[in-house]
Point group: C2
Chain length 190, copies 2
């Protein structure tokens, strides 16, 4: 766990916010610099280029998500509880951090994504996958490729969070439970 220099962090955070507001293109380096309270040149002290800034930002957000979800986990839960907790806390994280959600969405459907190392790609779904493997061992989940399953789950989480943030549908406790139940029913053996 590397300690990130204050200015470096400021740069990452401003980029995150600006990309949410203006998209990848809409955010020139000069704007990032201004928002972060540094000079344009300073960015290049920490990052080789705009591209690597964005790639690094992806790794940075990944780490944030993972930490947030792990914080909520407890011992001694059965698989279903475990699933509900993971699904809901991840969804809530995205809702509390819209900039992270928007950035990840934009990143994964951009030409940047395929360029980053496969193991990092997958880290998004890593703890989901670990959970699925367990479920398969117990014979509770359907016999579906676990990679496919984990991606489908993660996509459902992001979609739900997105819909809520867009204001298209308000998600409260009841809806979280409903959604988690829906996805749970889609992966478990009936």
């Amino acid at each position: 766990m590397e300690i990130i220099a204050e200015k470096k962090k400021a740069i990452l955070e401003s980029t995150l916010k600006l990309i949410k507001e203006n998209g990848f293109h809409g955010t020139p380096m000069s704007m990032v610099a201004k928002r972060a309270g540094v000079a344009a040149g300073t960015i290049y002290h920490y990052f080789d280029s705009k591209d690597t800034l964005i790639m690094d930002l992806f790794a940075y957000t990944q780490q944030q998500v993972q930490e947030a979800v792990h914080k909520d986990l407890r011992e001694g839960m059965d698989l279903k509880e475990n699933f509900f907790l993971r699904w809901i806390s991840r969804c809530q994280f995205y809702i509390q951090h819209p900039d992270v959600l928007f950035f990840i969405e934009q990143f994964v459907s951009s030409p940047y994504y395929p360029r980053c190392p496969a193991d990092q790609n997958d880290r998004i779904q890593n703890d989901i996958k670990e959970f699925i493997l367990l479920g398969h061992q117990h014979g509770i989940l359907r016999e579906v490729d676990h990679k496919l399953m984990s991606i489908m789950i993660h996509s459902s989480i992001m979609t739900a969070a997105r819909v809520h943030l867009d204001g298209r549908v308000q998600l409260g406790d009841k809806e979280f439970q409903q959604l988690a139940q829906m996805i749970w029913d889609s992966i478990r053996k009936l």
Copy 2:
């Protein structure tokens, strides 16, 4: 149904392909012009700006998707058959037209999307929604907001197609059936 001038269509199609290859930024108007076999200025005869070109392209792809799905529909299917057919044929359309999928993905997670009229936003899920309403009337589907449900369904389709195209998981007939079944089980009353 407007008849689209040949050059206009060529411009739309090249933009679609180029955006798939290079993303929104990576595709300058000059490149679009070259690929479409027209002069740069010609683009501005048909479109006010790059922005409106992209917005129009969105409407254009929407229409393509809708036509493709409707072609497959037959009369006298029960709700489950209906759902399977819609889910699978839409997924297959995206797989056969990766550029459409990539463009839509990129578009909806960009600052362009919120800028287009709400009714057009929703047309993506329009026929899905119509189906859901029917299912609700028959008491077959869960009591979940139909807007939410239709978005979740559409997202599952796009995700599946995407995973297949990325080569992360090969989808054959068996997998399509499995997936449609999963999603079906997530929306129906158990």
